[in-house]
């Protein structure tokens, strides 16, 4: 039944679109600040999960630098560089990317590592999460020298770190990523902390 005038049809579509866009824009402006605050809080919380607050006294979330798709949050204590938190993404996961946060002290030793995001198999690869197993704690206190050693890999590859039963790819991806960012930090230290030159 094509009785309606095309113009009237178009007009109705236009009016409905305007009203709905108006509604969405209104809610967007009302929630914008709250959403930004949430994102900021979440970032702070994840940064503090790898670096305790007594190790720095600057605003971490506002002091970052990006090199090669890796984000470095610079920590200072009494105006001297004290540590760095590295947010990076491994593309070697079993299903999708693994995003992780690695805190290193100024000599390149690992303070802590946390997984931010992953889609690894539940029950197998997800043991990289701290709430599923303690595996991630193996990395704490490891030094730059450890990372350069040939045993910085999973046991399956004659290395130092446990793999999980049924999941080798996931831990291998994490181990490789940590070495990658660790060495990257060492090689680009003066670019990240210009005051160390």
């Amino acid at each position: 039944m094509l009785t309606a005038h095309p113009f009237s049809t178009a007009l109705r579509l236009a009016i409905f679109s305007t009203v709905i866009i108006g509604l969405v824009s209104f809610v967007f402006t009302q929630t914008k600040n709250k959403i930004q605050e949430n994102e900021h809080q979440a970032l702070l919380q994840s940064l503090q999960s790898v670096l305790s607050t007594n190790r720095y006294d600057n605003e971490l979330s506002e002091n970052s630098i990006q090199l090669d798709d890796i984000t470095f949050y610079r920590a200072y204590k009494a105006n001297k560089p004290s540590a760095v938190i590295i947010k990076s993404t491994s593309h070697q996961g079993y299903s999708g990317d693994i995003q992780l946060l690695t805190a290193l002290d100024i000599n390149g030793s690992i303070i802590a590592v946390r997984i931010l995001n992953h889609q690894e198999t539940p029950g197998l690869g997800d043991k990289i999460e701290l709430r599923k197993s303690n595996w991630l704690l193996n990395f704490s206190h490891k030094t730059l020298k450890d990372m350069q050693s040939s045993t910085w890999t999973v046991k399956r590859d004659q290395g130092h770190f446990d793999q999980f039963t049924g999941a080798t790819i996931t831990p291998r991806a994490v181990v490789n990523e940590i070495r990658k960012v660790g060495l990257f930090f060492q090689n680009n230290k003066t670019q990240i902390f210009p005051s160390l030159k």
Binding site: F16, V24, T31, G123
Partner: protein, 210 residues
């Protein structure tokens, strides 16, 4: 149709998940735990109730030629508003449910109810229909989520604080400690099998009481 009929249709007789088999993508993907399932179910219910009411309210001004784009527009607008509100006020839950909140738009059950019911009935019955269909869908998510959570991790209601706030942080029940879990239940295949079992259960219940 009486209100009782509308409600029994939504919850049982024409349950969108178990009978109409609509909205399988969110149903199968987000039913890995009770809390995830319940949260998506509630968001879907809210969307259905609002979209059914809104569409019923304007049903006389919508010409048949443009009804589908307008349904999509209204539903997408409502879902975007819900997404923004969740992002602002239920941040952790928003992160857990992730992509599945915007994907509510593509849940065929919603545009299905708009077309079949809301565009032909007045506001109150449409609202009731939206609520009943949404609750029926939530029920399916809840049952499937419970089944999969028990089988895959031996617990129930874990992470309830995401939905109910801090007071719920102790609600999680560990049914079987030292349980290694059935991996299949956590994977998509287990989701399909679980849904199949629940549909079989519903059908056999119906045959039994016939």
């Amino acid at each position: 149709m009486t209100y009782t009929q509308i409600i029994s249709n939504g919850l049982w007789k024409n349950n969108q998940a178990f009978v109409a088999l609509l909205g399988l993508c969110p149903l199968l993907a987000v039913s890995n735990t009770v809390i995830n399932g319940l949260a998506l179910g509630l968001a879907t219910t809210l969307t259905l109730a609002l979209s059914n009411s809104a569409i019923s309210l304007v049903r006389h001004t919508i010409q048949p030629e443009i009804r589908l784009p307008l349904f999509v527009l209204i539903i997408a607008g409502i879902v975007t508003v819900i997404e923004l509100l969740m992002h602002a006020y239920f941040y952790e839950l928003y992160k857990t449910l992730g992509i599945f909140i915007p994907l509510i738009v593509t849940n065929c059950a919603i545009i299905g109810r708009a077309e079949v019911f809301a565009s032909k009935n007045s506001v109150l019955p449409s609202l009731i229909d939206g609520l009943a269909m949404g609750l029926g869908f939530s029920l399916a998510l809840l049952l499937l989520g419970g089944l999969r959570e028990i089988l895959s991790s031996g617990s129930l209601l874990s992470q309830a604080e995401l939905l109910f706030g801090d007071m719920a942080s102790q609600w999680g029940i560990t049914l079987l400690s030292d349980y290694s879990g059935v991996l299949l239940a956590a994977l998509p295949a287990g989701s399909f099998i679980g849904l199949g079992l629940l549909i079989a259960l519903k059908n056999s219940l119906e045959n039994y009481f016939k």
